[in-house]
């Protein structure tokens, strides 16, 4: 029962390409949406459950991507090994950073994570010998899963969908574990959680590392799927987008974060037709959603639906 939502989601993901074969929105946009789902679900563990904002998550996404890109394209390492290195680097950095950075709160935490994201971005642009600088790195080979080359949009859709479902499944289980309960206590009141004997520093460190690992994993997949990485894909704006996805999803809901990721990806794909007006509309929508539905798009919609349902029932009784 706990995983009922998960199964519904999984069936929808499998049915989409069957119902709409060769549809640009399903395969191409779907791949981007799937990667965003992994990122948002990971960030949601930190933001939604532990209540810690991160405006620098693009950095961990970038670490995974660049580790895979550099090691496979330049040194011809096997893809899984490169991905493992990316995960290790992102996890280690997150672990080192977690204690000092998660002691901060509110705007200080926002500033610190933002600064971290910018520093990593500057390194991507400047360390030209390794990263190729602003032009980025090309020639990243496609994934090859035990002799099954992932070389078409549909195959990539399958791989990314499977990865996104795995991320959701992991997140759902993590939240219901002992760690998850400790995190929710930290979100409620860090002080009270401490009084109950929860090592809050440790709990926050663990979730920071886990959410960095989610991001680095998505980064590795992204690098292989695009065949190309450049610093633009990991800029401050990307980190802001990720936070927006989680908040749109209403925070503290794995499916909310997943839906927020999908909604924002579709929005971007749709806004492209407005060309020069894209930025203006994007900004206006962000403001409008936060002003009128501070509990997130899905929180707002589901509350509206509940109210409507109650009103209808009352109407029926009379």
């Amino acid at each position: 029962m706990r995983l009922a939502g998960f199964y519904v989601f999984a069936v929808a993901v499998v049915l989409l390409p069957v119902l709409f074969p060769d549809n640009y929105f399903v395969t191409v946009v779907g791949i981007a949406a799937g990667l965003h789902v992994i990122l948002a679900v990971g960030l949601n563990l930190l933001m939604g459950y532990a209540g810690q904002i991160s405006l620098g998550h693009g950095a961990f996404f970038g670490m995974g991507a660049y580790a895979s890109a550099i090691l496979t394209a330049r040194y011809a390492w096997p893809a899984p090994l490169a991905m493992f290195v990316g995960l290790a680097v992102a996890g280690l950095v997150a672990w080192l950073l977690a204690r000092p950075i998660l002691r901060l709160r509110g705007h200080y935490l926002a500033m610190a994570t933002l600064g971290f994201g910018i520093i990593v971005h500057v390194v991507m642009v400047q360390a030209t010998r390794w990263t190729g600088g602003p032009d980025g790195l090309t020639g990243i080979p496609a994934l090859d899963l035990l002799g099954w080359p992932v070389d078409s949009d549909l195959r990539w859709y399958a791989v990314v969908a499977a990865a996104a479902l795995l991320a959701i499944w992991l997140s759902l289980n993590l939240i219901d574990s002992r760690i998850g309960r400790a995190l929710r206590a930290v979100h409620g009141s860090e002080f009270a959680a401490q009084m109950l004997g929860i090592d809050t520093g440790r709990a926050k460190t663990q979730v920071f590392v886990v959410s960095a690992l989610f991001a680095a994993f998505a980064g590795s997949l992204f690098a292989h799927q695009q065949g190309f990485v450049s610093p633009d894909s990991f800029s401050l704006m990307v980190s802001v987008e990720l936070v927006t996805m989680v908040v749109l999803g209403g925070m503290a809901s794995t499916f909310g974060a997943a839906c927020g990721a999908i909604a924002l990806t579709l929005l971007h794909a749709g806004l492209v037709v407005f060309e020069d007006y894209e930025m203006l509309i994007h900004g206006a929508l962000l403001m409008a959603v936060m002003i009128f539905m501070p509990q997130g798009l899905f929180g707002g919609l589901s509350q509206g639906a509940r109210r409507l349902w109650r009103a209808l029932r009352r109407g029926g009784d009379n």
């Binding site: 933001m47 904002i53 405006l55 000092p100 950075i101 002691r103 901060l104 709160r105 509110g106 705007h107 200080y108 926002a110 500033m111 610190a112 933002l114 600064g115 971290f116 910018i118 520093i119 500057v122 390194v123 642009v125 400047q126 009141s189 002080f191 401050l236 802001v240 936070v243 927006t244 908040v247 925070m251 020069d276 007006y277 894209e278 930025m279 203006l280 509309i281 994007h282 900004g283 206006a284 929508l285 962000l286 403001m287 936060m290 002003i291 501070p294």
Partner: protein, 291 residues
């Protein structure tokens, strides 16, 4: 070597003055509303770009500067009225996203109006550099420094000596209490947004002849201003000024002595170190957190 150091110092103080003005705006808004306004850098950009446009439309420079500042103040007031006031009392994350949305929105408008090219403003009093020992100083740097000093002094006088300024500060200490003694908290909120938009716009106009401007120019300036406010202890106006100057000098020394490509990384590394070791800022008050 000493001449070179002096040169870096002069450059650093010039650019640091801009950060100081932006940071001052951050501090004023934070005091009045507990909101960190991520659209602060966009006021800087709007000031510079509007002044450039008004000048191109045939207005003399002083009028263009005044007009641009007034337009930025108007935008600041509109932002407060239509984006901040409806969301009073929202969570920190929600207000961060609202102001980031506002920043993207303003950037979008600027891009439609002025395209993606870089524009520049002519220097206020010529480009002939002034020699100071072995270092050179652009006349525009003197304008930046002079106006910054004057503005900071004015803000200081306003906060310390006028009733309106004291009312604004009272809101930052305790909003409910301020309301109880008859201060119109909403009006103070508008005042803070108008004032900090004006300060930002003036900073943008002053520095536009040195750095050029484009629709995206506000992003980094805004973040540096935010850093200045954080380094100075958020909500402490004079701390923000000190924070801005130290950030500018550090960045300029880093660019000159280490690597110019890494100057932004050096600036933010400094901010991170301050946050890790002195989380309330270098010039902030120590406060205990209420549970």
């Amino acid at each position: 070597m000493l001449d070179q150091l002096f040169q870096f110092l002069v450059t650093g103080i010039t650019i640091g003055s801009t950060y100081a003005l932006v940071g001052l705006g951050f501090a004023l808004i934070y005091n009045a509303s507990d909101v960190v306004n991520f659209a602060q850098g966009e006021f800087v950009m709007l000031g510079a770009m509007t002044a450039i446009a008004l000048l191109a439309a045939g207005l003399p420079l002083p009028l263009a500067a005044i007009g641009a500042t007034l337009i930025a103040v108007l935008v600041g007031l509109l932002l407060e009225r239509f984006a901040i006031e409806p969301a009073l009392g929202a969570s920190v994350v929600a207000t961060i996203i609202i102001t980031i949305g506002a920043a993207i929105f303003l950037r979008g408008i600027a891009m439609l109006l002025w395209g993606k090219d870089f524009h520049s403003l002519p220097a206020f009093s010529g480009d002939t550099p002034i020699r100071l020992g072995g270092a050179t100083l652009l006349p525009q740097s003197l304008w930046v420094l002079g106006v910054t000093v004057a503005l900071v002094a004015l803000v200081r006088f306003f906060l310390d000596r006028t009733l309106l300024g004291k009312a604004l500060l009272a809101c930052s200490f305790n909003r409910a209490a301020a309301q109880l003694v008859g201060i119109d908290v909403r009006a103070m909120l508008r005042l803070a947004y108008g004032l900090s938009a004006g300060l930002g716009a003036l900073a943008g106009i002053l520095v536009a002849p040195i750095t050029f401007s484009s629709y995206e120019a506000g992003v980094m300036l805004g973040l540096k201003g935010f850093s200045a406010a954080i380094v100075g202890g958020i909500g402490n106006p004079m701390g923000a000024v000190a924070g801005g100057l130290s950030l500018g000098v550090l960045e300029s020394l880093g660019a000159g002595l280490i690597s110019s490509g890494y100057k932004d990384a050096i600036a933010f590394l400094f901010v991170l170190m301050v946050l890790f070791f002195e989380p309330t800022g270098l010039f902030g008050h120590k406060t205990a957190e209420r549970v």
